[in-house]
Symmetry: C2
């Protein structure tokens, strides 16, 4: 940050923007604030970012004091927010809530991505509203061609695993969904009930789990924000 790259303004907004408002950085912060600490988990949240650039950004954030690294027992690194980094949560939420208020759903829903949706779903699943035994929920997006249309969420002792290849367990609940509808539900743009009624999402299997889907399916953290546009 000698000359290029820096705005050369003493204003704190300028200094903050130099750290935070570079390409991909807000999304990396979102992942960290959502609890990801491993390089590979961070990558799942920003799948279109090259690992080289992710590595570079993490170093920059560490240099700025936003994160710190700690060796894990397995020999790899954990990337952890410092107090300075954790203090970015209100800013990230404010920006995301603004987006949710003002970005048209027709625009947001151009960027459908089942892996990303499932990864976020895994993160916020309310395991307390599922049976205490191990249970397996299969999601199928029939419109998606080839492999990659099927996902399994395996819940066991409060832990949730996302699989994109069949884990082999008996499936307790099978959700078949239009990807756009499932994403819209997740974003709070429509209701699960409405999409099921319209036949765009169907649920088969354990009746109790099916009935409680509105409870165990946590929505996006931005879904509660009231929208200002269609």
């Amino acid at each position: 940050m000698t000359d290029r790259g820096g705005y050369q303004q003493f204003c704190p907004l300028s200094m903050a923007a130099e750290i935070i408002c570079t390409r991909w950085t807000p999304l990396i912060l979102r992942e960290l604030l959502c609890g990801s600490t491993r390089f590979s988990d961070l990558r799942k949240g920003v799948p279109r970012m090259s690992p080289t650039l992710l590595s570079k950004r993490l170093k920059e954030l560490e240099e700025a004091g936003v994160i710190e690294t700690r060796p894990r027992p397995d020999g790899n690194l954990d990337y952890l927010l410092t107090e300075m980094g954790e203090d970015l949560r209100p800013m990230i939420m404010t920006l995301g809530n603004w987006g949710h208020r003002w970005i048209e759903s027709t625009v947001s829903l151009r960027n459908l991505d089942p892996s990303l949706l499932m990864w976020d779903m895994r993160r916020w699943l309310n395991t307390g509203h599922l049976p205490s035994r191990r249970c397996t929920i299969q999601f199928l997006y029939p419109e998606i061609p080839g492999g990659g249309r099927t996902f399994w969420l395996v819940v066991h002792e409060g832990e949730v695993d996302l699989c994109s290849i069949d884990p082999g367990f008996e499936v307790d609940l099978m959700v078949t969904a239009d990807l756009r509808s499932m994403t819209a539900v997740w974003m709070g743009m429509t209701s699960l009930r409405a999409e099921i009624a319209a036949g765009r999402i169907t649920v088969d299997g354990d009746a109790g789990m099916a009935r409680a889907m509105g409870d165990w399916l946590g929505l996006s953290r931005f879904a509660p924000e009231p929208r200002r546009v269609a």
Copy 2:
């Protein structure tokens, strides 16, 4: 934004970051939120940005619905925040306040710029604490070599003009300051009183105006935020 440039995530944070977190954009928004509406005024707030890029960014913000343009009587354009754009104020303030809390003053104060400081000062001068007649305050930063070390703030009927060449009026008050000290005062990192006591800022001329300097000198909008670092 077909493929490159976009994050391709439906998450509202991602959509918002595509619009807001591009190079220079937060600073342009700061200027707009502070009330600048003309191209030339916006440039004064981001003097190191090329006019080409400023023009491009303004078009992008208009396309996104954050600003709109309106023809002025003089034939040029006014750039005005829409409701969507005005709604970014909390986010920009949150980010700036974060910067003020966490960025070390030694880092911020590497980016001294007297023009920028004076431009911001002009913006927030409390004219109500100055005599109602026209008055002229001269600022001198002796350390700065060559021209560009002297500025005049001319206050007349509630309007403030910033001049970098002598407007020719009689000077009512003369402020001689170390640029770093004046900037630190402006940012709320130290007090005017302390810097005057230390001899790093001196004030000569109209005794009433000198005494009231703490009142008419509005500080940065971020100055009130309590700092977490030195």
